[in-house]
């Protein structure tokens, strides 16, 4: 008995130890094989979103790999922007981050300032292939962090106004759409039919709120990110406008997590005549309109005192602390992905903005704009394009602001000024 016990114990120990040994050996030899196999430098690229956008990423990476034999890029899908960001951070902490990844533009600051992404300025200065002037200036705002370039514009967007032109014509309105807040209000009123349809259905979207604050000529945060400014005149006026339209029942504002999906659904079913959403959804919305038998038109976000629309989407960034060999490979890949031909391909495939001026002027894009003019609205609107705030706490501030805006819309007695002041009071300590 005693011997059997001793034997089992030894056996267990041997098994445990040999299992550990095996593991280490296994991973080690795999790594060796991978790099020995092909004389190419291997890098990994992480992207967000599936469907058309995912296909676009996979296709471009395949084209890049086929176009040369020095670098081999492996593309990996990582979910939405939120998932992509948290996975990248976790991977960086584990020293296992992809060489190239995407930053949603409002997150450029967090990643750059915490030393996760590489400063691209030296690469650009030492590379005569890159002409910075050719990037659309309206999209460059979020590339700079503290004076240095940390990312190049890749899949970029801006919110625009989508309209059911068939309903507009029925109501006797100009299908070109409203220009300013006053016309926007008239359109909403004319398009609301009791019990049938509402002028517009929208979520409590901070991205759209940014456009309304921009229309009042102000910003969400002070230029040095020291405090919030969304509770200034422009912000209060914007929320008062939303609240008044919502109370009249001509603008339906959904709270909650599926609000954006709900707005899309209302628009597709003809229960609302207009909606705000990203230009990235244009291809999809054209298909929805065709399926449901209505005409779709697009227009600028309505202006007030002025126009100032946020841009959106993601920039391509390089992970910090790579070996010179990997850095060069990553840089070649980023440069190729943001070049004229590729930005034309991506824009046509998805509806995202072409990020280069030469791409917009190209024959290919111009003939697309002639054929489907809806594609051009977002490009033209870019002259009013603004960078998104890049403070580290902005994701949390957005959540606080959305909560207080929702509260003000739900509680008749809570004035927009008080709601925004409350949000500012909660948000300001996060900026210090």
């Amino acid at each position: 008995m005693k011997n059997i016990g001793r034997f089992i114990t030894l056996l267990v120990l041997v098994l445990v130890l040999s299992a550990c040994g095996d593991n280490q050996e296994g991973t080690g030899s795999k790594d060796n094989k991978a790099s020995a196999d092909s004389g190419r430098t291997e890098i990994t690229y992480w992207y967000a979103f599936g469907d058309k956008i995912g296909e676009n990423n996979e296709n471009l990476v395949k084209m890049f790999n086929d176009s040369q034999d020095k670098i081999l890029v492996k593309a990996e899908f990582q979910g939405g922007y939120g998932d992509l960001h948290s996975k990248t951070q976790a991977a960086f902490a584990a020293k296992n981050a992809p060489e190239v990844t995407l930053n949603e533009i409002a997150s450029m600051g967090v990643f750059a300032r915490s030393g996760m992404t590489e400063n691209l300025t030296p690469f650009i200065e030492n590379d005569s292939d890159v002409n910075l002037e050719d990037f659309n200036p309206g999209l460059m705002g979020n590339s700079y962090v503290d004076g240095n370039i940390y990312g190049l514009p890749y899949l970029r967007s801006t919110p625009i106004l989508y309209m059911n032109a068939s309903m507009l014509k029925e109501a006797g309105l100009d299908p070109a759409g409203p220009k300013n807040w006053k016309e926007f209000e008239e359109y909403l009123r004319a398009l609301t039919v009791d019990g049938q349809s509402v002028g517009m259905s929208m979520p409590v979207g901070i991205w759209y709120f940014e456009a309304f604050v921009g229309a009042g000529g102000e910003d969400m945060l002070a230029s040095d990110d020291s405090e919030v400014t969304f509770n200034g005149t422009a912000g209060v006026e914007a929320l008062e406008f939303w609240k008044r339209l919502a109370e009249e029942g001509i603008l339906k504002i959904h709270a909650g997590d599926e609000a954006a999906a709900q707005a899309t659904q209302d628009f597709a079913n003809g229960r609302s005549a207009m909606m705000f959403t990203s230009t990235a959804n244009l291809t999809q919305n054209l298909a929805i309109a065709e399926e449901n038998g209505f005409e779709l038109n697009t227009a600028f976000m309505p202006s007030n005192k002025t126009s100032g629309v946020p841009t959106g989407g993601a920039n391509l960034v390089m992970t910090a602390g790579l070996s010179p060999e990997k850095q060069q490979a990553a840089w070649e890949f980023i440069k190729w992905m943001t070049a004229k031909e590729q930005t034309i391909y991506a824009s046509k495939y998805t509806g995202y903005l072409p990020s280069r001026l030469s791409a917009i002027d190209s024959e290919e894009m111009q003939s697309l704009y002639e054929e489907i003019p809806q594609y051009k609205v977002a490009v033209d609107q870019l002259q009013y394009g603004k960078a998104r705030p890049m403070a580290e706490a902005y994701p949390e501030i957005s959540t606080i602001l959305a909560d207080e805006i929702t509260r003000s819309l739900l509680e008749p007695d809570l004035s927009p000024k008080d709601a925004l002041d409350k949000a500012a009071e909660l948000a300001n300590p996060l900026l210090q």
Binding site: K2, G5, R6, T9, V12, L13, V16, G82, S86, Q89, A90, F92, A93, V110, S114, G115, M116, H254, A255, G256, D257, E258, A259, Q262, Q265, D266, R271, E392, A393, P395, E396, T399, A402, D403, T406, R407, L410
Partner: protein
Amino acid sequence: MTLANSNETLHRKREQSALSALNWVAVRPYMMIFPAIIVFTLFFLYPIGYMIYLSFHDWNFVSPDKDYVGFSNFTALLQDAKFQQVLRNTFMYSFATVSLTISISLLLALWLNKKGAMYGFVQGAIFSPHIISLVSISMLWMWIMDTDYGLLNWFLNLFGISNIPWLTDPKTSLLSLIIVAVWKGIGYYTLIFIAGLQSIPKDIYEAAALDDTSKVRTFFKLTLPMLSPTLFFLTIIGLIGSFQVFETISIMTKGGPINSTNTIVYYIYENGFRFFKIGYASTAGVILLLVVGVFTIIYFKLLSRKVHYQS
């Protein structure tokens, strides 16, 4: 003399081998559980220790330095109005979910504790949600509870009840999540209750029937006390489980609208992985550990005395 000598040697030898056997007997259990201890330390103790360490630091998950901030995460968290609401939500969710699930499934178990094809079918039907992934259930209920296009409001409309914004109104959103949790939990609880009911000896009931005891009295004086181990077990795992609710919230509401459905685990996730405040999130994790720990201890110490265990 020689005999005595050899006897002594023999005795000493025996003693020695007894000693080594004793050593071996004392060491062997530790050797046996050694692999388990390693796993436990690596995957349970170390993460808990690291979480406690992080709760005293300010860290954004990637920066190389973690700033030591003492207890300031704790004081900030306890003064945070949002966290107070999160705690209220969590307690309300847990108590409502557990008490509703237990009372409904106890009634169902009493009804279903019979032989017959129909009872088997009903039991199978109410158990089926338990084997479906929570993610699928959340997606399904998002559609059922949709304000304008959902099945639930369509059904209520038939009775002249106007549309209820289940998930989009802060007044009803937590209730909606409780409904989903109860719907999912009932099948499993009922199954355990039926097993509990069937293990009660039949002769007690015969004795009660001979004495002409009423059904209600039989239930409260016999069934309930005999069922108390099951009840105790389900309450504990129910409370501990619902304190840690995450999937339904992450998919159906993201804690909103206006934080009305934000609970501790979602709050930890939100701070850690969306706002990158790892220290702050770890502090909330320590609080969760304390709350769950205290509840477990209270239940084992107090309630176990009142539970009737069959010998």
